[in-house]
C-alpha cells in the first residue's frame, strides 16, 4: 500500500511574493498545505527600543519605516498619540492637510498592494499601471516634503510647513485623472475569469474568526465587519467628510480585493472634499514649547533661537501618563501605546501593528489550500514586514 509522506519546504525569506522578508516553513502533502509556520523578525530593527532613547520629535522618521508603503499614515498615528499625551489641539488647516497626506498615502499603499498582488498571481500588466499612478503620488510627496517614499511631513502639533498652491494643483490633477485609472484596474481584473478563479473561495475567513484573530482594516471588512477607526473614533476631522465603509460578504481573497478597490474610490472622495474645503489658518499649534519658530525669526529674535535650540536638542516634555491612539492605517488599525515619564523621551512606545496579527492567522488561512494559493492569500492580506518586525 502507498504511504503518505509530507514534504517540508521553505518559502522565503527571499521569496519575491512574501512581500518582504517573511519566511514560511510549509508542510506539504502533495501540493496541499498541511501545516505552515511563519518566521518573522528578519527585519526587526528595535524601533520601540530606539524610541525609548530619543525625544518625541526624533521618533517621527522611524515611524515612516514601519509601513513604508504608506508612510504618512504612520506619522499621523504617532503624532496624534503624542498630541493626545501632551494635550495639544491641532489647528483645522493642519488636520485637513494631514488627512490629504494620509489618504494619498493610503492610495499609495493600495497601489503597491494591487500591483504586487496581481503580479504574484500572474497578472503582470497591472503592476505597470499601478506603479505608474503611484509615481504621481510620489511626485506630489516629493514636491511637498522633498521625500518620495517617506515624507516625515507631519510634526507634533501640526505639519512641517504650509502647503503651496502648486501642491493643491497637483493633488487636483491627480484627483481628475485617477478615476479613469481605477476603471482601468477594474477592467483588467474584476471580471477577469482567471483572476476570479484564483481568488474566489480562497482563504475564506468568517467574521467571528476574523475578529478573534485580531483582524482590522480591509481584511476584516472583507469578512463583512464594518469597522473603520475613521468612523468609530473620528480623529483629525474625519467626521467632516462624507465617505462610506465598503464591506465584503464571504471573506475570501476576492472580497478583500473588492474592498480595497472600493477604498481607492472612498479615499479619493475624502481627498476631494478636503482639498475643496481646505480652511485658512495656521498649520501649527500656537504653543511656544512645541512649535518650532520660523527660521527667519531665529536670525533676529533670541527667544526664537532659544526655543528652536531647546526644541531641537531636547524637545517638549510629556506628562507621566499612558495613552493609546489608533488610526486607520492602509492595512488596519495602526495603534500607538505611549507611556510618558515627565521627560522629553518616551518611556515606552508600543506599536500595534495590524500586519503582525494578519500574519499570525496565516497558518489558519492557508491550511488545506494549494501551494500556489499561498501567495494569493499573502497578497490579499497586504502585509508589510517593516511593520510586523518593527
Amino acid at each position: 500500500m502507498s504511504e503518505t509522506k509530507t514534504m517540508t519546504i521553505n518559502m522565503g525569506p527571499h521569496h519575491p511574493a512574501t512581500h518582504g522578508v517573511l519566511r514560511l516553513v510549509l508542510e506539504l502533502e502533495g501540493e496541499t498545505i498541511v501545516n505552515a509556520t511563519p518566521h518573522i523578525g528578519q527585519l526587526h530593527r528595535g524601533i520601540e527600543k530606539l524610541a525609548e532613547n530619543m525625544n518625541y520629535q526624533q521618533v517621527i522618521p522611524l515611524t515612516d519605516r514601519l509601513d513604508y508603503t504608506a508612510a504618512s499614515l504612520n506619522n499621523l498615528g504617532y503624532c496624534m498619540t503624542v498630541e493626545k499625551l501632551m494635550g495639544i489641539d491641532v489647528p483645522k488647516r493642519a488636520r485637513y492637510i494631514r488627512v490629504i497626506m494620509s489618504e494619498l498615502a493610503r492610495i499609495m499603499g493600495h497601489h503597491l498592494w494591487l500591483g504586487s498582488h496581481a503580479l504574484d498571481i500572474g497578472a503582470m500588466t497591472v503592476v505597470f499601471y499601478a506603479f505608474k499612478d503611484r509615481e504621481k503620488i510620489m511626485n506630489i510627496n516629493e514636491e511637498l516634503s522633498g521625500y518620495r517614499l517617506t515624507p516625515s511631513f507631519l510634526r507634533i502639533g501640526g505639519v512641517a510647513k504650509d502647503v503651496t498652491p502648486d501642491f493643491i494643483r497637483s493633488v487636483r490633477e491627480f484627483i481628475e485623472v485617477f478615476p479613469e485609472a481605477l476603471e482601468g484596474y477594474h477592467r483588467l481584473l474584476t471580471d477577469n475569469i482567471i483572476w476570479r478563479k484564483r481568488t474566489m473561495n480562497i482563504g475564506t475567513l468568517s467574521a467571528d474568526e476574523a475578529m478573534s484573530w485580531g483582524f482590522t482594516g480591509p481584511s476584516l471588512r472583507g469578512s463583512g465587519v464594518a469597522y473603520d477607526v475613521r468612523k468609530a473614533f473620528p480623529y483629525s476631522s474625519y467626521d467632516d467628510f462624507d465617505f462610506e465603509i465598503p464591506v465584503g460578504d464571504n471573506g475570501d481573497v476576492y472580497d478583500r480585493y473588492l474592498v480595497r478597490m472600493e477604498e481607492f474610490k472612498q479615499s479619493l472622495k475624502i481627498i476631494r472634499q478636503a482639498v475643496e474645503n481646505l480652511p485658512e489658518g495656521p498649520v501649527n499649534v500656537d504653543n511656544p514649547l512645541v512649535t518650532n519658530p520660523a527660521i527667519e525669526d531665529v536670525t533676529e529674535d533670541i527667544s526664537a533661537l532659544i526655543r528652536r535650540f531647546k526644541i531641537q536638542c531636547e524637545g517638549p516634555t510629556a506628562p507621566a501618563e499612558e495613552v493609546y491612539h489608533a488610526v486607520e492605517g492602509s492595512k488596519g488599525e495602526l495603534g500607538f501605546y505611549l507611556v510618558g515619564d515627565g521627560t522629553a523621551q518616551p518611556y515606552r512606545l508600543k506599536i500595534r501593528s495590524p500586519c503582525f496579527l494578519l500574519t499570525s492567522a496565516l497558518p489558519r488561512l492557508i491550511r488545506g489550500h494549494m501551494l500556489s494559493d499561498v501567495i494569493a492569500i499573502i497578497g490579499s492580506l497586504d502585509i508589510v514586514l517593516g511593520e510586523i518586525d518593527r
Binding site: 504653543n287 511656544p288 514649547l289 519658530p293 531665529v298 536670525t299 533676529e300 529674535d301 533670541i302 527667544s303 526664537a304 533661537l305 532659544i306 526655543r307 535650540f309 531647546k310 526644541i311 536638542c313 531636547e314
Partner: protein, 346 residues
C-alpha cells in the same frame, strides 16, 4: 532657633525662624524659579524671577530676600506671577546676542532653560552698547553681551574667596562686570563656576564639546591631599573641560587654579607613560620590570658601599596619605634610614 509655621500653596510648612521664603519652599519641595540665587551665596535679588504673592502685601515680594513670619500665606504660582517672570526674562534677553549655536553653555544654561520653560516670545533687541571685555585672568573669557548682570560672580568672588577682584559697573542695559582689583585675582574660577549663563567661559575648553555630548566623570583632584571632588568632561576619551557640582565633597564646588584649569596634562602627548632609563646618555623606553630592577639593584649597591644613611627619600603631596605612609615605611624598614621628607612640609 524658634520654629515658624507658614502656608505655601496650601501646604503647612514648619521651618526655623530667619529662613527665607525661598528656603522654606525648597524644603517642602515647591519649586520657585530662580536665576541669581545660589546655594552657597547670600541672597542677591537681582534677577526678579522669584516673586511670590504674600497675603497682606499688595505687591509681589522676592522670595529669596523675604524672611518667613508666622501665619504667612504664600502663593508661588499664579497667572500674574507667571507673566511677571516671563517679562523679567524678556528684559534679561533684550541684550542677549544670538549666540546659542556657538555658546559652550547652551544646553545647560539656566537662562535658556527658563526662557524655554516660560515660553518667552518676541524679543526684539534694541540695546547697542559697547562693552569692555577685559577680564583679570587669561583663563576665562568674559562675554559682556551674554551677561545678565546677576552678580553671582561678583558675590562669589567676595563671599567665598574674600577677594573682590571683580565688580559691576554701569547701570541698566549697559551694566557689566569689570576687573575692579585685577591684581587680587587668583584665577580660581569661582566666578566661572557660579555663572548661570555663558557670560563666563573657560578658554581652554571653548568649542571642544557640547554638554549633552560629553561624558561626566566624577573624580578626586590629584594635585594635593585635600581631596576636592570634581567632574571631568570627557569626549572621545579626552578630557575637554571641568564642571564641579556644588553639593559634593569638601570643596562644595570650589577649586584652585590648578585643579580647575590644570587638566590638559592628562592627554598631553609629552606625558610619560612608560619608564625611561638613561643608556649611553639618552633616555630610552623600557619595561617596569627592568626599571624597578635597576632601581632596586642600585639601592642595594649604594647601601652596601656607602651605608644606609647615604639614601634619602622625598615624597610628593600628590600622593595620598596611605601612599605617603607606605613610602616612609619603605624608607625606614627596607632601606633603613630616617632621611624621609615631603614637599609640602612647612
Amino acid at each position: 532657633m524658634e520654629e515658624v509655621k507658614l502656608i505655601i500653596d496650601g501646604n503647612n510648612i514648619t521651618v526655623p525662624g530667619g529662613s527665607t521664603v525661598l528656603e522654606a519652599a525648597r524644603s517642602a519641595g515647591i519649586r520657585i524659579p530662580t536665576l541669581c540665587c545660589h546655594e552657597r551665596l547670600e541672597p542677591i535679588g537681582s534677577c526678579k524671577m522669584c516673586f511670590v504673592q504674600i497675603n497682606g502685601c499688595a505687591e509681589p515680594q522676592q522670595a529669596c530676600k523675604t524672611r518667613v513670619q508666622d501665619t504667612m500665606q504664600v502663593t508661588t504660582d499664579s497667572e500674574q506671577l507667571f507673566s511677571m517672570r516671563r517679562e523679567s526674562l524678556r528684559e534679561l534677553l533684550l541684550r542677549h546676542p544670538l549666540d546659542c549655536p556657538v555658546c559652550d553653555k547652551a544646553g545647560e544654561c539656566l537662562l535658556q532653560d527658563l526662557a524655554y520653560e516660560f515660553g518667552v516670545t518676541d524679543v526684539h533687541q534694541h540695546v547697542n552698547a559697547t562693552f569692555e571685555t577685559f577680564y583679570p585672568t587669561s583663563l576665562i573669557r568674559y562675554w559682556p553681551e551674554r551677561c545678565i548682570v546677576c552678580k553671582r560672580c561678583v558675590t562669589a568672588c567676595a563671599e567665598i574667596k574674600q577677594l573682590g577682584a571683580i565688580d559691576i559697573k554701569g547701570e541698566g542695559p549697559t551694566a557689566q562686570v569689570y576687573p575692579a582689583k585685577p591684581e587680587r585675582c587668583e584665577s580660581c574660577g569661582e566666578c566661572l563656576q557660579v555663572c548661570p549663563t555663558g557670560a563666563l567661559t573657560e578658554n581652554l575648553s571653548r568649542y571642544k564639546t557640547r554638554p549633552w555630548l560629553s561624558k561626566r566623570v566624577m573624580t578626586t583632584c590629584t594635585y594635593c591631599g585635600c581631596g576636592c571632588q570634581m567632574q571631568l568632561n570627557v569626549m572621545n576619551n579626552r578630557v575637554v573641560g571641568m564642571t564641579v557640582p556644588n553639593v559634593f565633597g569638601v570643596n562644595k564646588g570650589s577649586l584652585c587654579v590648578k585643579g580647575r584649569f590644570g587638566y590638559e596634562f592628562i592627554n598631553s602627548p609629552e606625558r610619560l607613560k612608560k619608564p625611561l632609563i638613561r643608556k649611553n646618555g639618552t633616555l630610552q623606553e623600557t619595561t617596569w620590570e627592568e626599571a624597578l630592577g635597576l632601581v632596586a639593584s642600585q639601592f642595594s649597591r649604594i647601601k652596601k658601599e656607602y651605608g644606609r644613611d647615604s639614601i634619602a627619600g622625598i615624597s610628593s603631596a600628590r600622593c595620598t596619605n596611605e601612599e605617603n605612609y607606605l613610602f616612609q615605611k619603605f624608607m625606614r624598614a627596607v632601606i633603613g634610614t630616617n632621611n624621609v621628607d615631603h614637599c609640602a612640609r612647612l
